[in-house]
Symmetry: C2
Subunit: 326 residues, 2 copies
């Protein structure tokens, strides 16, 4: 059995708890938290340990799955905990991956651990598709679409506007843009042409709806480059109709072969997820298995999904995989 | 530069010739053939060598890409040539992969080479999707659909019927079946419910159309389990409208997470290819790079796509991949 620890018991941590149960060769041995351990109540009967006492669990946890956020938690936590454990995280700030990789690599190599970073669906499974598709179709163009699904960052941005009590924002790919890519015409698409944004907003008592709507649709970076629609709804409607965290997305590569590029090819990968955190947790669990195996082979340092052969993710042997899946 | 050799100059060999040109770190150094070398005319100015003289090229070819068929060529050729070269093949008889793996592994290990087998799209890129998707969604069901595209095996089967001069057969996925899978309902689908078969047939002078049609639609294994339509056309129409070798396909995994499997997730990978052999050739070229790198690291023996980390396929460095693709 691979002994798994979780650091951080929010939506993602709860998802990992389910994912460990769904993998017969794994057991959850502890949840670590920076909060008061008595305040954290896991669904299963697993001990809750203060993150400050993690070092005492050094030899009782094979892989620690880090379930914090990319903005402030993981840049500190992943290198720090890679000194004690093999670790897996879902660091998703694309532009900062090289720096995060270097920090985790140094910590993990110095202490003989494996750290797998940026595991999830984007980065993660979408990165795999981009890497395979680029290696295969060297002459082509890449496209990534997100949605329809909830963007936590955009929902948070709306909630920070004065007069907003609560909000959910859906990112939606434009069907005509997806169709144009699938046609093989290698279109050049602007930000506005690729996605629209749908906002469901609950106002504070007495707030000015027109002012809130204007603050949303003109917000730089988040909304001003998109066609954005704002729907004002009651808190009851928000909780009833928008409680989930669904997400989805598409990665496509369109390429050409032959003497004059006359033969067109489309590679498409897509996900449709009822629960973004529960699916991300499943990817983390599979790469926790890989981290454990790599560490067992004496590998150390930081790895990403691009550095790990697919067979390392599976509980099946090479013989079984070749006979059943290849 | 990675020095590539091709064995067999049919549709697939011609595709590899294009693929090598599309990879800046590769050069084609020789085409090997079992035919009279004088009868083989590559599109580029590459020497054509008798397969019997391949041993003289042992130190002039880094990777030999085998472009023969799975029925009789590759079971003999891949183990034989793995004694002389690092090799890559597209062996696609799923049921015989374990035996082929064992034969290539023994030959390659004994002589210090790498042999990568079953490279292409199915087995190949579809296998990758099945492996990743199964490792991530442990609780779920797999579906593979092929088409719309030309099945060479089914076209050949029709051509063997007395009275048939020429034929092309298209395998077509049933849209309602694909939609049912995408809905997350995990349907149980019969062979007939998943695919239909469309046949375009040129008759010999004076042949009995009704008898030919009956021979096709009742043919065991190939057609009797499917809804098959037969269109009789002229040779001119066949050459004009059905000259290409397009293909396509879909791999889906439908899974569930949460306390009672209440959250559904769909992973879908699809290909739409104008030229099946040219695309397969692109995948072979990417894995030729991987074979060369693995051999340079001292790895020996047989590998499949499941054993090779994605970064090995790319001409880019780890730093570049993390900064640009992850």
């Amino acid at each position: 059995m691979i002994r798994i620890g979780i650091l951080g018991y929010g939506n993602l941590g709860r998802g990992v708890e389910y994912a460990v149960e769904a993998n017969e060769d794994m057991e959850l041995v502890a949840v670590f938290t920076r909060r008061d351990p008595a305040s954290v109540k896991p669904r299963t009967n697993v001990p809750v340990i203060s993150a400050d006492d993690a070092e005492m669990w050094k030899n009782k946890v094979d892989v620690l799955i880090l379930c914090g956020g990319s903005a402030t938690d993981l840049p500190e936590q992943t290198p720090a905990f890679a000194k004690l454990f093999n670790v897996v995280d879902s660091f998703d700030t694309h532009a900062k991956i090289p720096a995060h990789f270097a920090a985790v690599d140094a910590a993990a190599k110095a202490t003989g651990h494996v750290g797998v970073i940026s595991v999830g669906w984007d980065p993660g499974m979408f990165s795999l598709t981009r890497a395979y598709a680029n290696a295969v179709l060297t002459n082509g163009a890449d496209y990534t679409f997100w949605g329809r699904g909830v963007s936590q960052g955009h929902s948070d941005a709306i909630r920070r506007i004065p007069g907003v009590k609560n909000a959910k924002q859906y990112t939606v790919p434009v069907p005509a843009a997806l169709d144009a890519v699938r046609s093989g015409s290698n279109p050049t698409l602007t930000t506005r042409e690729k996605h629209t944004r749908e906002c469901y907003v609950v106002l504070e008592e007495g707030a000015d709806a027109a002012a809130v709507e204007k603050a949303i649709v003109t917000m730089p970076n988040y909304f001003s480059d998109y066609d954005t629609t704002v729907h004002f709804i009651s808190e009851e409607e928000l909780l009833r109709d928008h409680a989930g965290l669904p997400h989805a997305g598409f990665v496509l590569r369109s390429g050409a072969t032959g003497a004059n590029g006359e033969n067109k090819h489309i590679i498409e990968f897509s996900l449709k997820l009822d629960s973004n955190p529960e699916f991300t947790a499943c990817v983390l669990a599979a790469y926790a298995r890989a981290a454990h195996r790599l560490a067992s082979e004496g590998v150390t340092g930081c790895k990403t999904v691009l550095d790990i052969a697919p067979a390392y993710l599976s509980a099946k042997s090479g013989d079984e995989l070749r006979a059943s899946l290849l």
